[in-house]
Symmetry: C2
Subunit: 469 residues, 2 copies
Amino acid sequence: MASRQVQLKTPKGTRDWFGSDCVLRDHIFETISGVFKRHGAVPLDTPVFELKDVLTGKYGEDSRLIYDLQDQGGEACSLRFDLTVPFARWLAMNKVTQVKRYQIARVYRRDQPAIARGRLREFHQIDFDIAGEYDTMIPDSEILRIIVEVFKALELDITIKMNHRKILDGIFTVAGVPGDKIRTISSAVDKLDKSPWADVKKEMTEEKGLPEEVADKIGEYVKEKGSVREILDFLKSDSSLVEDQNIRAGIEDIELLLVYVEAFNISSSISFDLSLARGLDYYTSLIFEVLHTPQQTEVPGLPKGGKDQATQVGSIGAGGRYDNLVGIFGKKPIPCVGISFGADRIYTILKAQKEREAAAPTQEIDVYVMAFGAGKEFTGLLPERLQVCGQLWDAGIRASFSAKAKPKLPQQFKAAEGVPLAVILGQDELADGKLKIKVLGLPDGHPEKEGVLIEKTDLVEEVRKRLQR
Amino acid sequence: MASRQVQLKTPKGTRDWFGSDCVLRDHIFETISGVFKRHGAVPLDTPVFELKDVLTGKYGEDSRLIYDLQDQGGEACSLRFDLTVPFARWLAMNKVTQVKRYQIARVYRRDQPAIARGRLREFHQIDFDIAGEYDTMIPDSEILRIIVEVFKALELDITIKMNHRKILDGIFTVAGVPGDKIRTISSAVDKLDKSPWADVKKEMTEEKGLPEEVADKIGEYVKEKGSVREILDFLKSDSSLVEDQNIRAGIEDIELLLVYVEAFNISSSISFDLSLARGLDYYTSLIFEVLHTPQQTEVPGLPKGGKDQATQVGSIGAGGRYDNLVGIFGKKPIPCVGISFGADRIYTILKAQKEREAAAPTQEIDVYVMAFGAGKEFTGLLPERLQVCGQLWDAGIRASFSAKAKPKLPQQFKAAEGVPLAVILGQDELADGKLKIKVLGLPDGHPEKEGVLIEKTDLVEEVRKRLQR
């Protein structure tokens, strides 16, 4: 092992997670997977890399962002780009016909990172999908219900933006977009949440060759948004739209969906937004996106929020129905609908909230076990401290001690800062079978301020009693 | 998205984890991290790949097993090979002086896989390390204590094989091995747990040019094993060994360690074994390995076990002290000692145990919500079922329903197999504000065999009451 100077950093777009950051992130994972389990979901975990062919041709333009492994003899492999394609591969491989599965894992994209906004090259996705044949729009509504439950559990106000691919494609047809340009025009509309209409129109006309009046007609339609009922009424009131077969099919779906989301008591969280397009090619009908829309009027450091205004992080979840993806792998198609939560963006929001609150001390230990004594006679009582720690650990109590043979008392008290309880060992007390127990940080005058002497045999009981206070 | 036939498999040496396999694996993770937290450990999570330079020159011969990422413009990166080197990189990068950290994550080795024995190319490690300056052998003893606590929590009988690098190196010197051959002879001895002495001796003499009498002398020493006290006495009784400075230093360490492991009440789990060498270069003093040594006399499908006989999976944990690794990255060395648990091998053992026990039905749902009715008048009561499910989910109860608009009753009962409770909705009962609740699988003659009618407003309470039974 020769000593050589290496760059001390993590690779571009990646980060370490330590201590309270890790704990907050895992809290998000546990809260969300708790909701999934309530709905009968089963966990799946797939390898971090897949055969390269499995990913090929699934992500359109974004495929250039895939990380490949080096050819070291053997199979060509790539790091997973999302959790949806591995899920589809698993469904096809295991001939599964119906499943509710969830997966929490990291995915990899060679994109330009923006770490402060929670956009990294290695990031976490939390996916829930329902695969299989069911009656129309029932699984779709359950996914929307799950979104609402997840953010209720995380105590974040959200709005679900929703649209239907068939309605959007129908609008393009009615506006006069030729069939072979529908997907590329859809990609342009997808940019409306980041770019102003003028830029999107320019892309449609100058870059993609659409006549100006067609672009303007699209512009009129896609500015419409409101409650599911309102937009359904708007669509049905426009006779040129209702003539389109795709739009009629979409309206029929959404009418059904409305009944179900009302039964689920979540319709007030949904905004039907005709501008929502979603980039990925594989969606076939319902599509949706989750925006953080805080209700508080004043939050220092965040822009004033309203039902219609997302915070800077962008969407914190997105999904839709993809009925044809699994069929690409196997012979039998399996219709699917699912949601992917953006764990790192949710983390960024919760972390900012936490930092505004008073910082609670991170307390990793319940009891600090100390030795009392000094001078030549003082042995340090190390074996005795180890024995007491062992007793506490056996009882499931979090305990620590100074890893010094003869520690000084002030150093031990310093190490115990933030710990609720000290157990203090003294040579003479031990000879009588006794220990001192001391609640740290008690006010002056409290009867236990100086600690209490207890029987060594009562240790666990006396510690438990004081930890429960 | 053109349809093309791809190979439906995961890459060589990798696997999917689904359902109960995933649950058992996560149970291992949670049990072990629970022990770590009891000792005040803090979680760390590092990226799945590191800069290639960070890994270079740390693993000796095994470096050829490292996975590299393809050069797609940018930094040269490799998948992590273990969790120890990323931890050392993190310590140096963040100038941490003292920490107890744990990490549970996947690591990658392009080795020959043996999936049935839990050896894969993508596998899990569970690491706990104590970094920083402490008094001699105190953190080392705590690591040994943690090993015992971990396997007590997992209910597996184990033996910790332990040795000291300085004692082993001293034995080689006393036997007559030249200084520059010590590491390569140590590698040969490391194979003694898999190969017979004759093969190892052949490697030493024929391949590595050791005189036969030197090899024989080594053979005599490394066959010694026993309790810590016994082997200490053996070493001290041999005057030629005690003359060696390394051996004297090692004996001093182990004398201290014995006091601490006795205080921790774990000395009976430790076997001091002079043949233990450990492959990795970076260990500097104490080294250890954990073997599964079941106490039961008869376990079908497993060899008869004894304190000294490991099951086929090999070691299920290993570690030691490495005081020089962090210094390679930064200017300041930080002494460390740690243990890495082989999660996949532990999984293999627990899974085999579970399969011998009666298979418990996997129950993912508490309540199945059904509609009762048939014929033309029957609406399917779908919105009503959704509303009831919503109520149960709001109360944190796991619930499901048939995603059919008009499901048949027998199909619904079939879907509810293994679920403890059914809530059954009927048109007439609902009109009266009532629901039927039915504990499934009750014996004939039970007063609730046919279910009981309850007020809809009491639903959650009545369900909870029956789930608690």
